[in-house]
């Protein structure tokens, strides 16, 4: 059996002449969390829909849990999914909505309450879905995805509408599922939301996979930066010269100097600037996001 939960080769989807996903290639190993990242409209949901057999693909191939995506009936009973947000019957309670899906999928109906408690909805099980907040709806969607005790969990923007505490809970839930052996394929338009829990990343932009690999590979390449602003913008070039003379390269981005250096060098830089007669209005050591690091690596600023 393959060690890959998901594998796609040249997967494409065109709507007329417009490519929504173009020759996507990536793999997701079993038992890992893979972040699927890209801006809104980049093709994440379209890709997930193709993997779930909801829409046809116009090119390429793919396998899920070792089965071809042309035969979703062979693997979907082992897959849990929430695509493009939660969708349930407004007039039914949260529990009854899950019972509908449990009956349909042949899962134990009496496990519904336990699932609702796992996602923090135990005390609202009998409330109608239409009375739920956005965050509660999201949790119900995740509970539905967990129903088949999935080998592969595919979640599309699961943290939408959740407060920071809720986002943290979802991260912990996904981590615990992965620790139990579930492969998690989770999309987000914000890399920072999922970079810390993802073992690997697939980055999508304008329908094309621009990065597919281990998160660690990106983390190792993160370069700390000191962002400096001064009272007179004409002094920015002088700041770059000061940094250069001290062995640090930099560039001017908008109205600030970005110096490649660790936070420990910031006090020294501040003193050197002061000695040169430059008054700094801002001095901020920052670690760039993985996305910025990626684009720094590839030289792509689009």
């Amino acid at each position: 059996m393959s060690s890959l939960a998901i594998s796609v080769t040249d997967l494409s989807k065109n709507y007329g002449d417009r490519p929504a996903v173009s020759h996507a290639n990536f793999e997701v190993p079993f038992g890992t969390i893979c972040g699927f990242v890209g801006p809104n409209g980049s093709g994440k949901t379209t890709t997930m829909r193709m993997l779930l057999g909801l829409i046809s693909h116009t090119g390429g191939t793919g396998t899920i849990l070792g089965e071809s995506i042309d035969h979703p009936e062979r693997y979907l009973h082992r897959v849990g999914a929430m695509i493009e947000g939660p969708a349930f019957y407004p007039a039914l309670s949260g529990a009854e909505n899950l019972r509908v899906l449990a009956t349909l999928g042949g899962f134990a109906v009496d496990e519904v309450q336990g699932l609702l408690e796992r996602v923090g909805l135990g005390d609202r099980a009998d409330s109608k879905y239409k009375t739920y907040s956005l965050g509660m709806k999201q949790r119900l969607g995740i509970a539905a995805a967990l129903q088949p005790k999935p080998q592969l969990l595919m979640l599309d923007e699961p943290t939408n509408g959740l407060d920071p505490a809720g986002i943290q809970e979802i991260r912990e839930l996904l981590r615990s599922l992965a620790d139990e052996g579930t492969t998690v394929f989770v999309s987000s338009h914000l890399l920072q939301e999922i970079e810390m829990i993802s073992d690997s990343l697939v980055m999508l932009r304008q329908g094309k996979v621009i990065f597919a690999g281990k998160t660690q590979d990106l983390l190792l390449r993160q370069q700390p930066v000191i962002i400096a602003k001064c009272a007179d913008p004409q002094d920015l070039q002088k700041l770059l010269e000061i940094a250069h003379n001290a062995g640090h390269e930099g560039s001017i981005v908008d109205d600030a100097a970005h110096i490649l250096a660790t936070s420990e060098w910031a006090p020294t830089f501040n003193k050197l600037s002061f000695d040169a007669g430059i008054t700094l209005s801002q001095l901020s050591p920052v670690l760039p996001s993985l996305e910025e690091t990626f684009f720094e690596m590839t030289g792509d600023q689009e």
Partner: protein
């Protein structure tokens, strides 16, 4: 398929839907039977389109089910609304994607849904039959209708035939609703188009085009419910309507099984 049907039944048994629909069934059935018996001697008629069903007709064995057969059109329209809404709402709520993830065999999903809705329609027809027969007996005294023939074996056979014919007619209405729901993917559009065609367009065509009742689906469904009428014989109506529904089902089935689910 059975799992799909049971899952669908969970949605259909929701109290507001189930009790509301059955309430409408009872109400329409009671209204039609009341008009039939209480306006028996009215010169304006006591049945559909001002027709007059006289006391002598009601005293025959099939007089017991005259009201029930007359209610078929209303039962059918209720079925059309339920089937159309319950199908199209899967698109508007976005729940179709949940269903297809749990049951990727699309035709199995459709058949399962249809079976559950057919069971729902069966309950409504049984309820309507009980109300009709009860009211027929209850109102016969006031309308001075002799019920002796209603206790005969012929009356029981007439009741069985009427039940089967009304059920077939109601299922045909429901099937049209489901097909419109799948085609238009909107409850409001599918119900309004279905009702407008069956209640308005067909009646206009039937009024102006001679013998068109033999070919119009709504008229054929009425003919089936009545066990054959002046528009079309029972066998003709059954044959033509079956052909219509079979063709439409194949077309919509192929469309549903191939169409992307993108909402």
């Amino acid at each position: 398929m059975i799992r799909v049907a049971f899952a669908e039944w969970r949605k259909l048994r929701r109290p507001t839907l189930f009790l509301g629909t059955m309430g409408a069934v009872i109400g329409f059935t009671a209204l039609i039977n009341s008009l039939l018996f209480l306006l028996l001697d009215s010169p304006r008629g006591n049945a559909r389109e001002g027709q007059l069903i006289n006391r002598g007709t009601l005293e025959l064995p099939h007089g017991l089910v005259t009201g029930f057969s007359s209610a078929a059109g209303f039962l059918g329209l209720i079925a059309l609304c339920v089937f159309a809404a319950n199908t199209a709402q899967e698109y508007t709520y976005g729940t179709l994607r949940n269903l297809l993830v749990r049951q990727p065999r699309r035709i199995t999903l459709l058949v399962g849904k249809f079976l559950a809705m057919a069971a729902f329609a069966l309950v409504s027809v049984i309820l309507s039959a009980i109300v009709s027969v009860s009211l027929a007996y209850g109102l016969s005294g006031k309308a001075k209708v002799n019920t002796a023939a209603w206790s005969t074996n012929d009356a029981r056979i007439a009741l069985l035939h009427a039940f089967i014919n009304v059920f077939i007619s109601v299922i045909a209405y429901g099937t049209i609703g489901m097909l419109l729901g799948l085609l238009l993917r909107s409850p409001i559009s599918s119900i309004s188009l279905g009702v407008a065609w069956l209640l308005v367009v067909e009646n206009i065509i039937a009024a102006f085009v001679k013998h068109s009742g033999k070919w119009l689906p709504g008229q054929l469904m009425s003919s089936i419910a009545a066990g054959g009428d002046i528009n079309a014989s029972y066998s003709h109506a059954l044959l033509i309507l079956s052909a219509y529904l079979a063709l439409a089902t194949i077309f919509v089935g192929v469309l549903f099984s191939r169409r992307d689910v993108a909402n």
